[in-house]
């Protein structure tokens, strides 16, 4: 009936592509906040994989969602601290661009 | 052609009537031809149809609800201010808010040149969508819940929190400093108050063991002492304050504080896009009132159960041919009955005036009779009426607060959320959990 949505692989492929996009953003963007957003994308990719495993492997029924919830909690903490760091650095250095965060050099 | 001589209304009618006639004929023909098939399809896909109908109905009732609340607010605040309020359009100005809506529709929908057009256009839609989508889970009555699914409360908080995204979009895209300040204020306020809002109902979730709103309402069945406002008073207070802030109402309406930042996020909006913000605010007031009455005031449960159990249900089918006769004769007779004493009462009253008055009185009396009959005989109607009474009592409270209180300052607002409401809600959770442990559930 559902050739795509009924299988595990499409979800995993989507997760992998999302992770790759996120990693590109993390590596290539200069803006610290965009990098944080890319990290959120990667974490969501992991979430998606965990949920897919939980949905398709009966022995992991509860574990997938539990993992996803834990990841969301950790992501919230990460975002809070990350944004606080960005704002704190911004207050001193007046720029959100990471390649200008070269305090050690001066 | 006579087209040029037609008034605007006449032109509308000239187009509309043929369209309606042709459309009606086509629809009838289709129904006759495929009626059975359509009915079968609907019957086979009941959940999907139910969802679609619920969505459409929810969307449709959100507008009259907004109109009603706007009228209520205008009139109640006017009474508190010793003014008359709207009194010209309709009886006691009752149609005023509809006219407001029409006015908003007809105004120019101006887009300032420097705004970020897609975001600017999308923002009011997001706000309105977020507020009306939460209407889906409101348990008006046990039989009248659009979608009573298991995670109703979570859904409510999740979707309700989306509106702040729309406010921030509006604030940012308007390219106006007032809007930007309003958007930032809205975001800070929403993030801060969502936490005590969510935490305050955890005690109830512990007690009921469910996140489903119909089940929470069902858990308060019994007398009014079973309502959660008496079992969780602290949670009720926190929840009430937090929903006031979530709905951006006085004294927490800092996001659109007109004395400070003109209209906040809505400063650059006009026409229907402003109307969306405007309606969303009032729909929000209704929704948070409904949620409060469902969670804390027993929702559709009556305060005290009185088992009337009347057996006066008339079997209409037993009347046979008498039914259309009664339906045809009763209005005429009733109208004459009420008109006669009025006509006799004074010689200055003309016959047609007496007839009109009689017809109106008959209409009122028969509507009231049918309402009382339905209230007694049909449990959903009684539940709905109880639910609406509670909800509108809360709406009145919100309007009352707006008429009474000045606005809190933004730092006092944030400090209150973090320093008082959050610890209090945590305390409430601990106390509830402890009590459940002691009592052994």
């Amino acid at each position: 009936m559902s050739q795509i949505a009924g299988n595990l692989e499409p979800y995993l492929v989507l997760s992998g592509m999302l992770f790759a996009i996120g990693s590109f953003g993390f590596l290539a963007r200069r803006n610290a906040i965009t990098m944080l957003m890319s990290i959120e994308l990667m974490l969501n990719a992991v979430n998606l994989a965990a949920l897919a495993f939980g949905a398709f492997i009966p022995s992991l029924a509860g574990e997938g969602a539990a993992f996803a919830l834990l990841i969301i909690a950790v992501a919230a903490a990460e975002a809070t601290v990350g944004l606080a760091i960005v704002i704190a650095i911004f207050r001193n250095r007046k720029t959100p661009l990471v390649d200008e965060y070269d305090t050690m050099r001066q | 052609m006579a087209w040029n001589r037609l008034t605007p209304a006449g032109r509308v009618l000239a187009v509309l009537l043929p369209v309606l006639a042709i459309g009606g004929a086509l629809t009838t023909a289709l129904l006759v031809a495929f009626g059975g098939a359509i009915a079968a399809t609907i019957g086979a896909n009941l959940p999907i149809v139910r969802f679609l109908v619920a969505s459409v109905v929810t969307f449709l009732i959100s507008v009259p609800v907004a109109f009603l609340l706007i009228y209520m607010e205008m009139k109640i605040i006017a009474l508190m201010n010793l003014r008359i309020g709207p009194d010209r359009i309709g009886p006691a100005g009752a149609v005023m808010s509809v006219v407001h809506g029409l006015k908003v529709l007809m105004k120019e929908d101006y887009t300032p040149p420097s705004v970020d057009v897609p975001v600017f256009t999308l923002a009011p839609v997001v706000v309105y969508l977020a507020s009306f989508m939460t209407l889906l889970v409101i348990p008006f009555a046990p039989e009248l819940t659009s979608m009573g699914f298991e995670l109703g409360l979570l859904y409510f908080f999740a979707i309700g929190g989306l509106s702040v995204v729309g406010l921030m979009m509006a604030g940012w895209s308007s390219f106006n400093k007032y809007s930007l300040l309003g958007g930032i204020r809205a975001a800070a306020q929403a993030i801060s108050y969502e936490i005590p809002l969510t935490l305050s109902v955890v005690g109830i979730v512990i007690l009921t063991g469910t996140l489903s709103l119909p089940k929470i309402v069902a858990a308060q069945d019994g007398s009014f002492l079973d309502w959660f406002i008496f079992r969780q008073p602290l949670a009720a207070i926190i929840f009430f304050i937090a929903i006031t802030a979530e709905a951006n109402r006085t004294p927490f309406d800092n996001a659109e504080a007109d004395q400070e930042i003109v209209a906040g996020f809505a400063t650059e909006y006009s026409g229907m896009r402003f109307g969306f913000f405007f309606f969303a605010e009032y729909v929000n007031v209704f929704i948070v009132s409904a949620l409060f009455s469902a969670v804390f005031l027993g929702g559709s449960n009556p305060p005290i159960h009185i088992d009337l159990n009347p057996q006066i249900l008339i079997d209409l089918s037993a009347l046979g041919i008498g039914l259309p006769l009664i339906a045809g004769i009763a209005p005429v007779l009733g109208t004459l009955l009420f008109a006669a004493p009025i006509w006799f009462a004074s010689s200055r009253i003309k016959g047609w005036q007496a007839l009109v008055a009689g017809f109106l009185i008959f209409g009122g009396v028969s509507t009231a009779a049918v309402g009382i009959w339905a209230f007694v005989m049909l449990p959903p109607v009684a539940s709905l009426i109880w639910f609406l009474i509670k909800t509108f009592a809360l709406v009145f409270t919100f309007v009352w607060m707006r008429g009474t209180l000045p606005r809190a300052r933004i730092d006092q607002l944030m400090g209150f959320a973090w320093k008082w409401l959050l610890p209090a809600s945590l305390l409430n959770i601990f106390a509830t959990a402890f009590a459940v442990l002691i009592a052994g559930r």
Binding site: - | F175, K177, L181, A257, V262, R407
Partner: protein
């Protein structure tokens, strides 16, 4: 389309200069004001803004929500009344001054009338003096009740202003019965008042006096004990007595800082020395104190009216004066204590029928200077609370 901040192709200039070129600073102070530090921006309020009483424009330099600096821009209501008065004769000059402070215009008449009477050595009949005191105190109550409503309105409360308007309406109607005008009374004349008290005024006044105190108390109960109101005004915009004196502050704003300076007491005019009343003062000097001092003054005004009604003598209400007034050359300064402070008129006569120079001193003008110093470091919302508590009226500020 707005150019994107993140777009590498466009170099975006400072945000404040996108549409309106920044004005070139003319003074040291303005240069300091116009220099933005990191994270600061200008927010313009007015001349059309919900909380500026009249057409005041305030440019606020904010850092987030915090007000860093503030620059009021005046002149949107400037009519050149002083120049007009120099080109009118003495009677005409009085009615030019009427619309200055339109919420309490009797005081704006009283000051030039006092100055002109000094120039011409006129003795005002005692009954006229009593009538002036009576009407001025009524007008003071009208102004203070309106202030209460404004104060609440600027803090977001919408009801008190409509309740406050009950009293103001009644007083205004009363004065309209006496003077024929509801807003700009034009009642005082050099050497007396225009017409004796009439029956309608007296009967309305009697009815009103019988319930005034209770009614005003109930109005005060609307807002005085409100927790939000008190929290937003207490400790806000504290003005100490020394600064207040240096800044030339007068009236209730000065008395809220603890200086019992009241012209009615310290430099008596008309029949005030014969009347018994207190000068309410507060020591806190914050917005709440400024509000409460005004509310206390309402009660004292009712007390004064009561005494005036009991002691008013009979007699003429106008002194005998020639039709054409040509005072001797000289200078005179007439001052009255108004609801906002000292209204002064400095008149110079050169022997003709027109004042050679007529300087109008308005307290709102002085008090508006304080908005900047008092709001620095507070939030945007506090600007409104401070401005409302100083109670400037733009008609007087802009002359």
């Amino acid at each position: 389309m707005r150019p994107s901040l993140d777009d590498p192709r466009v170099a975006i200039p400072a945000e404040s200069t996108w549409y309106e070129p920044a004005p070139t600073p003319q003074t040291e102070r303005q240069a300091e004001f116009l220099s933005l530090r990191e994270g600061e921006m200008f927010v313009n309020m007015g001349p059309q803004h919900p909380s500026t009483h009249g057409v005041l424009r305030v440019i606020i330099k904010v850092n987030g929500e915090k007000v860093v600096d503030l620059d009021p821009v005046l002149g949107y209501l400037h009519r050149g009344v002083e120049k007009l008065c120099e080109n009118a004769d003495y009677h005409q000059a009085i009615c030019y001054t009427d619309p200055l402070e339109y919420v309490s215009s009797l005081f704006c008449e009283a000051a030039p009338v006092a100055a002109f009477e000094k120039l011409m050595d006129v003795d005002v009949p005692r009954r006229a003096q009593y009538i002036r005191v009576l009407t001025m105190e009524l007008n003071r109550i009208a102004s203070h009740t309106l202030f209460q409503g404004w104060m609440a309105l600027d803090l977001g409360g919408i009801t008190p202003i409509l309740w406050a308007f009950i009293e103001r309406d009644e007083i205004v109607d009363m004065l309209a019965a006496l003077t024929g005008q509801k807003l700009l009374y034009n009642y005082y004349r050099i050497g007396g008042v225009n017409g004796d008290l009439n029956h309608e005024f007296m009967s309305r006044l009697g009815t009103w006096m019988s319930r005034a105190a209770a009614q005003i108390d109930s109005n005060l109960a609307l807002i005085n004990e409100n927790e939000i109101f008190v929290r937003r005004t207490r400790g806000l915009g504290v003005l100490d007595a020394k600064t207040a004196l240096k800044m030339g502050v007068t009236g209730p704003n000065l008395r809220a800082s603890g200086v019992p300076f009241d012209l009615r007491r310290d430099r008596p005019y008309l029949v005030y020395p014969e009347l018994e009343f207190d000068v309410p003062t507060r020591d806190e000097g914050d917005s709440l104190a400024r509000y409460l001092v005004r509310m206390d003054e309402i009660k004292q005004s009712i007390r004064i009216i009561d005494q005036v009604l009991h002691e008013m003598p009979d007699g003429p209400v106008m002194a005998k004066l020639p039709r054409l007034l040509r005072p001797r050359p000289g200078r005179a300064f007439g001052a009255v204590e108004g609801p906002r402070g000292v209204y002064g008129t400095y008149a110079i006569s050169d022997g003709t029928d027109q004042p050679f120079r007529m300087r109008i001193h308005d307290p709102s003008f002085v008090h508006l200077q304080l908005v900047g110093p008092l709001t620095k470091g507070n939030l945007i919302a506090d600007t409104m609370a401070v401005m409302a508590s100083l109670d400037p009226v733009m008609g007087g500020v802009d002359k």
